[in-house]
Amino acid sequence: MATQHSRSAARLMLAPAVILLLGWMLVPLTMTLFFSFKKYLPMRGDSMANGLDWVGFANYTRFVTSSSFWPSVQTTLVIVGGVLIITVVFGVLLAILLDQPMWGQGMVRIFVIAPFFVMPTVSALVWKNMFMDPVNGLLAHLWKFFGAAPVEWLSQASMPSLIMIVSWQWLPFATLILLTAIQSLDSEQLEAAEMDGAPALKRFWFIILPHLSRAITIVILIQTIFLLAIFAEIFVTTGGAFGTKTLSYLIFQRVLESQNVGLGSAGGVYAIILANIVALFLMRIVGKNLDA
């Protein structure tokens, strides 16, 4: 049993991490909350030193009534939803495939996991220029080869293109986690089902999928949190044009590009609330696992 002495020592060792994270969380959060109730336009001379005007909930109502708000919510939902569907569906299929006996499994695994390690600005730029460029991009060559007119991907089909790029980055993550989960499946159970004559589809539906449900939930939650915040991919490809302005990108533009800090902060508070709702579900699952 831990002595009183080691208990206080333990608390002391925990302190730096807790204090730092507490500061990292509370200080900016308080400031955002504070700004969100203020008129704060640094370009027009507003500053902390001169004192900021209190405007109540004006920023909050203005943020949601602005014409770009609902489209940005829709864009966010389409991107997050689209990427989740693609990565989870293909992730499950790919995990099952990679779990099968084959030659060169390690090598294939390396290929599949690689996109996750590519920095977001690189993958966005490589896709944008080398694949999706309407003149010299590889996809344009491919389209011309089949006699079709090349598509201007990032303007004419901006959302599918963006979803494609982001899915490419996140598919490895989903696959890797689902593969890890699948490998913990008791293979005897599958064999027994196979011997009893259960067809592959039924084995998938009644044994594999239920076994994966927890891992799928975790993939969905973690990806949602990261996908709500995607930035570099949009920044590099469309800069928020052609209907690709997500909620977080809209906030970024309000704060840094149009320098309306009050308005952007109100948007930030919305984003924080949204992320916390998702986080709450994730924490429940992770928390349960801690007891075990």
């Binding site: 730092l20 996991i113 690189v122 730029l125 992770v286 801690l290």
Partner: protein
Amino acid sequence: MARAVTTQRKTINTVAAWVIGLLIFFPILWTILTSFKTEAQAISDPPIFLFFDWTLENYSVVQERSDYMRFLWNSVILAGGSTLLGIIIAVPAAWSMAFVPSRRTKDILLWMLSTKMLPAVGVLYPIYLLFIQFGLLDTQLGLTLVLMLINLPIIVWMLYTYFKEIPGEILEASRMDGAGLREEILYVLTPMALPGIASTVLLNFILAWNEAFWTLNLTAAQAAPLTAFIASYSSPEGLFFAKLSAASTMAIAPILILGWFSQKQLVRGLTFGAVK
């Protein structure tokens, strides 16, 4: 292996997996190949896959023109510094939670995780202001601190799950033999925890290397790492495919190699121990 598998089925699996694997890997492969082409060959129609005149010219051009080494150095400093600092702060914290748990340990762990979920864009301006206030904008120190803070929850969590696997009895025994807290950590715990610490370092180095929100928004010329270097290629330089490819290859190569070593740890680190 309990399941007997026919060679035919294994062949089908192999072909399917390799085709899909190569398809997913193709953009990276294409980038690496293109980096060795001349600009004319890089945009030739139809595209050339392998039979071009291999050249290293792009690499030297990128180096000369854009001061690549400075960006690389910043990436190394930021990723390395933030990871090192994070480890120094997280090891004692994870140790104390794993071996001297209290009633609140679980709450503290979950709370730490929750700070990771805070959307960066929501606190961008306050951080920006604080950075100006303290003269941290576009400095290595400022970004190292931010990257350390955003990854600290993951570092603590990973270390905690690794430390949890070390049997407490060993610590008891060392205590019986008269080891103090310092000796216990230095001579008993550290050697056993080293593999876990190594994987934590690896994963967090990768995450910090690729971080592309704060590094883009809080740097200009001085402290900009490779993420910003590549973003500056957006256009019109980005239309020089061969040079873009060379720059991209140089930015991702170190991490691709490190990443392949950290596959297994990746799952543990990114799911907070929820999938094993």
